[in-house]
Structure formats: structure tokens, C-alpha cells
């Protein structure tokens, strides 16, 4: 019997398993997840779960009996530590050896650690459900939270924490939040909004280190300027690290019968004529479906316009397209509702961002599809 082994039970891994069954695959599907919990919806960790609006078991991607019903062997708390492409085996961290005919690497990412920092109590990262539950304990009114990194996680957690009455200071090495992805103009607009919501911002100042108190807990964040920010909890949100496994548009790696999808993969995107590691929900789900098709011998490349959303400080941000460099940003609107267009030197639209303007996304998608 053909066995498909899927390493990783996040969105990519689970969607791949589901797609295989939906497409009529009758062989064995083994789905192994490192975390000891039922596959869940990761985007909610920085938002509703942290805010206490949803419980951990509400985040399950599928109802508990689902996997068994589909004949998908779900193994929780099992990390695939190594695999052998020649013998077509894989070894889990607890020593079990499995054979496979097709292997899907959907191992996701890890939170990047702050370099040179000792392990201190009170310093949090946010990647897993366990991380989120631990952080939630600390978000009480009056507590002082320092968030290192004004990316999407940093922004969303700041928003959630501030709404819970926590004293939030957001520290960023760059001059504006989300500058790298959204540009300085939008970043400045966001900074204004963060401030207006009572978040203290330390921009343009890298973090030099975390200072421990006498009890071994973190006492403050030391900035490169020498200043120290007193706090009782630190969230480090400086990005995610993965193996960046290169794949084609269908999720095939250079090794036959080995596939990759989701945050772990850097997939070729025909529309962009380059490989892209997109840390987004839609990319993970779309790539997973492409991998399932490829395993079944069908070529269904995933080439959708990159798209993601983020909810923070009363702003529904939606972003379509992909632009790492642009010549010009056309920003229109105000802190409450705005739209930004990212153009190249020839005035061609590369990507677009809307904030609280959901109606514009449909037309923008069309425009981007034509501009390509």
C-alpha cells in the first residue's frame, strides 16, 4: 500500500492530508505533528486566543473525530527528526522508524530567538499554542509588557494586550512598524495609530539585550542607546526561522517523492518568476493542495496572488500581491481607513494594501491580475 508521510500537522500538513483523501487517495496517510495538541488555527493565537475571546479547543482546525473518520493517522507530539530519501524512511524524535512512498515536509517555522540573550523567566516567544497560553497569563491590567519587534505578531499582540489594560511598549529596530513589508509611509501611519491607542513606541532603536533582575526574571529591555525599559514581561517577535526548502510551483523538491509546503517551503511562483516563502494562511493551504495533486501524479501549480490579512488596533489590514522593492507608494486616506498602492518605476502595480476598506480588495485583485 502506498504510504504518504506528512511531517507537520499545521495548516499545510492537515490540508494536504485532507486534499489527498478528497481526491480519492486510498493509501495510508500518516500525519505527524510536533505539538501535543490537535491541529489548530495559528492566526488566532495573537488575537482572539490571547484576548480570551476564544478557548484553546475552539481553535481546532477540524472536529476531534475527523482524522480517524478520514483514515488519517494523526500522531501528536511526534517530531520527524530525520529522513532518508534513498531508503525512504523517516525517524521520529522518540526513535520510531517509518517507511514512506511520499514524504511531505510541512514542518512550519520556529520563532527567531533574540541573539545573545540568556534564557530568562518572563521572556516569551509566540509561535505555538503553549506559547500563547503562557503569554496570556501575563496579560493582566497594569502589567508592563515590552514587545520586541514591530512586525505582524508584534503589532497584533500589542493591540490585544493594550485592549486588556496592559502597559505596552513596542520596540523596533526599524524607523517604523512593518516598514520592510509595508513601507515607511504606511509604517508611520501605523505608528501614529499605535500611539493614539496608548502604546509607547521606541522606534529606530535595536535591542542590546535583556536585563535580568535579582530573581532571575527579566527586569528590563536594554536598548542600543543604553536606555533601559522596565517591564515584567517581554515578548520577542523578531521573525520566524525555517529551513526554506526549495520547491517548484507544485511543491516538489529536488528529491523525488519528497514535497514541501507551508512556512517551511520556498516555492516557485510563476507569476512572480521567483521563489517565495510566504508565511501566509492562503499560501500554506494552496501549496498543500498542489502537493496533494502532485503526489497523485497531477500537475496543479499554485500561483495565486499572495494575500494576507492582519487585525490590529481596529484596523482590518488586507494585502494583495507581492513587492519587496518598489519605486513609489501611493497612500490615500487617514489613520481610520486608508489604501496604499506599491508601484514600480513604470507605474505598474506590484501590490496593494487596504485598511478598513474591504470592498477595494476585489477590484485590486483584478487590477493586479491584469498588471502581471
Amino acid at each position: 500500500m502506498t504510504t504518504v508521510l506528512i511531517a507537520g500537522a499545521g495548516l499545510a500538513g492537515t490540508r494536504c492530508a485532507e486534499a489527498l483523501r478528497a481526491e480519492g487517495f486510498d493509501g495510508r496517510i500518516v500525519l505527524l505533528g510536533e505539538e501535543p495538541v490537535e491541529p489548530y488555527e495559528r492566526p488566532a493565537l495573537s488575537k482572539e486566543l490571547l484576548a480570551g475571546r476564544r478557548r484553546a479547543d475552539d481553535l481546532a482546525l477540524r472536529p476531534p473525530g475527523f482524522w480517524a473518520e478520514q483514515g488519517i493517522e494523526l500522531g501528536l507530539g511526534k517530531r520527524v527528526a530525520a529522513f532518508d530519501p534513498v531508503c525512504r524512511t523517516a525517524t521520529t524524535a522518540d526513535g520510531a522508524v517509518l517507511s514512506w512512498d511520499a514524504l511531505v515536509l510541512a514542518t512550519g517555522a520556529r520563532a527567531r530567538r533574540l541573539p545573545g540573550s540568556p534564557r530568562l523567566a518572563g521572556v516569551h516567544y509566540l509561535r505555538t499554542l503553549a506559547d500563547a497560553l503562557a503569554l496570556r497569563e501575563k496579560l493582566q491590567p497594569g502589567r508592563r509588557l515590552a514587545v520586541v519587534g514591530a512586525g505582524f505578531i508584534g503589532g497584533e499582540v500589542s493591540s490585544t494586550a493594550q485592549a486588556l489594560g496592559v502597559d505596552v511598549t513596542l520596540v523596533n529596530g526599524g524607523a517604523a512598524p512593518l516598514e520592510r513589508v509595508l513601507g515607511r509611509e504606511v509604517g508611520d501611519l501605523l505608528a501614529e495609530r499605535y500611539r493614539a491607542h496608548g502604546v509607547a513606541l521606541e522606534l529606530g532603536t535595536p535591542v542590546a539585550g535583556l536585563v535580568p533582575g535579582r530573581d532571575g526574571r527579566v527586569r528590563s529591555v536594554r536598548l542600543a542607546t543604553g536606555r533601559e525599559l522596565r517591564c515584567d514581561t517581554v515578548l520577542v517577535a523578531v521573525g520566524a526561522v525555517t529551513g526554506e526548502i526549495a520547491t517548484d510551483a507544485c511543491g516538489r523538491t529536488a528529491v523525488p517523492s519528497v514535497y514541501a509546503c507551508g512556512d517551511a517551503a520556498s516555492a516557485w511562483r510563476p507569476r512572480l518568476a521567483r521563489r517565495l516563502r510566504a508565511e501566509h494562511w492562503t499560501s500554506a493551504a494552496g501549496q498543500a493542495a498542489a502537493v496533494a495533486a502532485a503526489i497523485l501524479g497531477r500537475s496543479e501549480p499554485y500561483d495565486d496572488l499572495p494575500y494576507f490579512w492582519s487585525d490590529q488596533f481596529g484596523l482590518r489590514l488586507q494585502h494583495v500581491g507581492h513587492a519587496e522593492r518598489w519605486a513609489r507608494v501611493e497612500l490615500e486616506g487617514d489613520g481610520e481607513s486608508f489604501g496604499a498602492r506599491y508601484l514600480d518605476e513604470d507605474g505598474r502595480l506590484l501590490a496593494a494594501l487596504t485598511a478598513n476598506r474591504p470592498r477595494e480588495i476585489g477590484p485590486l485583485r483584478r487590477e493586479l491580475a491584469l498588471a502581471a
Binding site: R53, R54, Y307, D311, P358, G362
Partner: protein
């Protein structure tokens, strides 16, 4: 800001495709009728539902309570 449950009334769907324009990763047209993934955390589905000229898409907050039709 929550996970959304999607219900498409196939008898109302007339294949306009406005929904697909807003949330192509959630809804697609299959033989002229809209089909969805059933649920998503993507807020674009709310706009997709509003955009339907036939009001064929209903979106529910997973913790019960209708958001849109």
C-alpha cells in the same frame, strides 16, 4: 476576527462570481455554482458575502450568531 462558517444557498446562486473576486481562496465557481471551503478565518469572506447580488452566502461567527447574509 473570528473563524467564519460559510453556508451557500445553491438555489439562490446565479454564478455572478462577485464572491470569488473577494475571496478566491475561500470560494470558487464550480460548473457555474459557488462552492466554499465551509469555513475560514479570512475576513475577506464577509465582503464576499456582502458582494453577492443574490444574497446567497451566509457567514456565521463560529461561536454562533449570524454576521451577514
Amino acid at each position: 476576527m473570528a473563524r467564519y462558517r460559510i453556508v451557500i444557498d445553491r438555489s439562490l446562486c446565479s454564478g455572478f462570481g462577485s464572491c470569488v473576486e473577494h475571496a478566491p481562496n475561500v470560494v470558487r465557481l464550480e460548473r457555474g455554482v459557488a462552492v466554499s471551503a465551509g469555513e475560514t478565518p479570512d475576513p475577506a469572506i464577509l465582503d464576499a458575502a456582502t458582494a453577492c447580488p443574490m444574497g446567497a452566502i451566509a457567514v456565521y461567527d463560529d461561536a454562533a450568531g449570524e454576521q451577514l447574509a
